[in-house]
Assembly symmetry: C2
C-alpha cells in the first residue's frame, strides 16, 4: 500500500500580494520540476492554480488577495522527497525575493500522511490535531461494546485506544496515581471498588498496598480490554490480569449497574470507589444525552455504596473543556445524597493535553 504525503507551506505577508507578478515569478520553478499548471477561475477570491507532475505529484498554489500565499504539495511516500524539499525551498527563496522581504511569517508544516498502515493522528479531546510517534498496531479487536486498539509508540510504550480515544499508555503511571489519590491515601485493610479499570493499572498498583479486598467490575473479557492489556500492557498491569481472583482482589466480568444496585440493596459500602469507566461526555446537553444519563446513574449508585468516611475518585476530561466540566460539577451538586468535591489538573504523558481528576465525598 502506497501512502500519500501532503506537505504544506504558507507565507503570510505584511500587505496584499500582487498575484500577477508573484505568480509569474514562481511559474518557472514549477516548470523546472516538470509540473504543468491549470489556472482556475475563483470568482474574485485570489489566484488558484493546480500543478500535476510525474509520479502522481500534485501542487496547489493559492495567492489570496489579502496577503497570504499557500502551497500544498502532495506526493507518494516512495517519491524522491529530497527533490520535493528542493521545490518547496526554491519557492520559498523566490517568494522572499518577490515580496522584498515584507513577510510576517513563513511556515512549513510536517507532512500529513494518509493511507498508511498505521494511523498516527489521534486528535485531543478538545479537537486539536496531534501526530503521535506510533509505528505499529499491536492489537485490534471489536468487542460488543467498543473498538479496542493497542498501538506502539517509541516514547510512550503501548497505548490503549478505545473507540479512537487515547485511553492509557504504559508511560502513564501519572493517570493511575491521580485516580487513586496521588499516593496520599492508605489502602491497607480497606474495601475498594473499581468500576471499569480493564487495563489493570489501578488494580496492579493498589494490591501492593494490601487492601482487605478490591472488587473490580469490567464489562467484558474475551476480545476485550482485559484480554488485550494482559498481553500487551504488562508495564501497566504486570501479571495482575492473568487471574481473575487473588489474595485481596476479585474481578467480575459483568455490567456494573446491576451489581451496584445489589450492593445498595444489601447496604454494602466501600472505603474507596474508583470510577475508571469513561471520561465525562463532551456533549453539552446533559438533559438529552444518554451518556450523561449513564454517568448520573453510576455516580448516584457509587455515592450510595460509599462509606460515610469514604472517597470517590474519577477522571473528568480535558482541562480545556470547561463547559463539560462545569456541567459535571452541576451533576455532582444534584445528587440525592449531598457530596463535597475537589479537582486537580494532571499531566498524563500520552494524552498531550492537561486532564482533570475529581475526588468526591459524602457531606
Amino acid at each position: 500500500m502506497r501512502s500519500q504525503l501532503c506537505f504544506r507551506c504558507s507565507i503570510l505577508c505584511v500587505f496584499p500580494v500582487d498575484s500577477a507578478s508573484t505568480v509569474s515569478g514562481l511559474m518557472s520553478i514549477f516548470h523546472e520540476q516538470e509540473l504543468t499548471e491549470t489556472v482556475h477561475d475563483t470568482n474574485g477570491h485570489g489566484y488558484l492554480a493546480t500543478f500535476v507532475g510525474k509520479n502522481g505529484r500534485v501542487a496547489i498554489l493559492r495567492v489570496h488577495s489579502h496577503g497570504l500565499v499557500t502551497i500544498d504539495l502532495q506526493c507518494y511516500e516512495e517519491d524522491n522527497i529530497a527533490q520535493l524539499d528542493n521545490l518547496l525551498n526554491a519557492l520559498e527563496k523566490k517568494l522572499k525575493v518577490l515580496l522584498n522581504g515584507n513577510i510576517t511569517r513563513i511556515k512549513k508544516l510536517p507532512a500529513i500522511v494518509r493511507g498508511a498502515n498505521v494511523d498516527r493522528y489521534w486528535p485531543t479531546a478538545d479537537g486539536r490535531l496531534i501526530e503521535y510517534d506510533i509505528d505499529r498496531v499491536v492489537y485490534e479487536e471489536d468487542s460488543a461494546y467498543q473498538n479496542i486498539k493497542i498501538l506502539h509508540s517509541q516514547q510512550y510504550g503501548n497505548i490503549l485506544v478505545l473507540d479512537g480515544d487515547v485511553n492509557l499508555a504504559e508511560s502513564d503511571f501519572a493517570y493511575t496515581q491521580a485516580i487513586t489519590g496521588n499516593g496520599k491515601e492508605n489502602y491497607a485493610g480497606k474495601e475498594v471498588l473499581i468500576l471499569g479499570g480493564g487495563d489493570g493499572g489501578i488494580l496492579a498498583e493498589l494490591v501492593k498496598q494490601k487492601p482487605k479486598m478490591i472488587t473490580m467490575v469490567e464489562i467484558s473479557f474475551m476480545g476485550s480490554v482485559i484480554d488485550g492489556c494482559k498481553m500487551y500492557m504488562r508495564k501497566t498491569c504486570g501479571n495482575i490480569l492473568d487471574n481473575l481472583k487473588g489474595d485481596c482482589y476479585q474481578i467480575f466480568i459483568e455490567d456494573c449497574v446491576p451489581l451496584l444496585k445489589k450492593y445498595v440493596q444489601e447496604g454494602r459500602t466501600f472505603d474507596y470507589v474508583i470510577n475508571d469507566l469513561t471520561a465525562i461526555p463532551i456533549s453539552t446537553a446533559p438533559e438529552e444525552d444518554s451518556t450523561w444519563e449513564f454517568l448520573r446513574l453510576i455516580l448516584d449508585l457509587s455515592i450510595q455504596v460509599l462509606h460515610p468516611s469514604g472517597k470517590y475518585f474519577t477522571q473528568g476530561n480535558s482541562a480545556n473543556l470547561t463547559e463539560a466540566l462545569s456541567l459535571y460539577e452541576d451533576q455532582l451538586e444534584k445528587l440525592s445524597c449531598p457530596v463535597g468535591f475537589c479537582k486537580e489538573v494532571v499531566c498524563v504523558p500520552s494524552y498531550l493535553e492537561q486532564w482533570v481528576f475529581y475526588t468526591a465525598w459524602k457531606k
Copy 2:
C-alpha cells in the same frame, strides 16, 4: 486578516477502487453545493479533480488506484462551516454506499489553519505535527541572539518559544524539578552556577533552599528572555528577576564562556553546575557542527569548575532522538576530565514529547 482553513478526509479501502463508478457517484454531491470541477490528467496515477465553489471554496478529490480516496477542502475562516461539514458528511455517506462497506478506515482530521494572527503549530523536536491551544501572542522580540515569543495557552499558561522551539511554559515545574535533581538534592549552603536559565524558573526554585550563593549567567537583558519572562512568566519566576542581585543570588548579564574561563583560571569550583543553555543539537554531525563545538566547550569548562563531589545537571533532548542523544553521550566520554553520568526521561507538560535529562559527575 482572513485565515484559510483546510479540512482533510481520507478513506482507505480494502481493495483497489474503481475510479469511474466512485467518481460519478460523488459528482452530484459536489454539484449540489455549487462546486465546479476540472478533471486533470495524472498520467496513470489515479483520478484527480479540483472543484471551485463560492466564497473561495476549493476541494481536491483524488481516487488513488491502490484503494485510497482523499478529499481536501479549503475555505475561509468566516465561511459557513456547517455547510462544509455537511458536504464532507454527504461524501463520506455516499462513499460508504459506493464501496459496499469495504472500508478499512475513514479519517477526518481537524482543519489546519493558515494565515491566522496566532500560529498554533509548533512541531516537536522529533518533527511531528502538533497543534497547540495557543490563543494570543503575549510578547515578541528579536534579541541579538534569537527570536523570543511568549504565547498564551489556556492549559499551559504562558509559553516561552525561542527561535520556534517551545522552551518552557508556566505549567512546566516538571522541567525545573528535573534539571535541579528531582528534589533529592540539598542546596542549603551550597555554591551553585546556572548557565542560561533566563526564564528564572530554576533560580526562583533554588533560592527557597537558602544556598550560599547562586551565580546565574544569562547573555542578554533588554528585549531578552529575562525581560519577557519577568513580565509574563511570573508563575515560573515569581519576583526573582525583578532584581539582578539578592541575598543569595546574583545574575550576570554576559557571555558565560569568558566567565567560565576566568573561574577555571582562579580555580573556583561549584557544588552544582546547572546548564540550562540549550537542548543538545539534533544535527548528527558533531565534528562539523558549530553547535556541537559550543556544547563541548561549555561541557568541558563546566566540568572543570565542578567541585570533585559536585553534580552537573542539564537537559538532553527528545527521548525519540536516540542518535543525537547517543552522540551526546559520546562527548561525555571524551572529556579531558573523566565523568560518570546517568539520564532519566521526564514528561514536561507543554513539550508534548518525552524529554531526557542528564546528571554528570567527576569520576
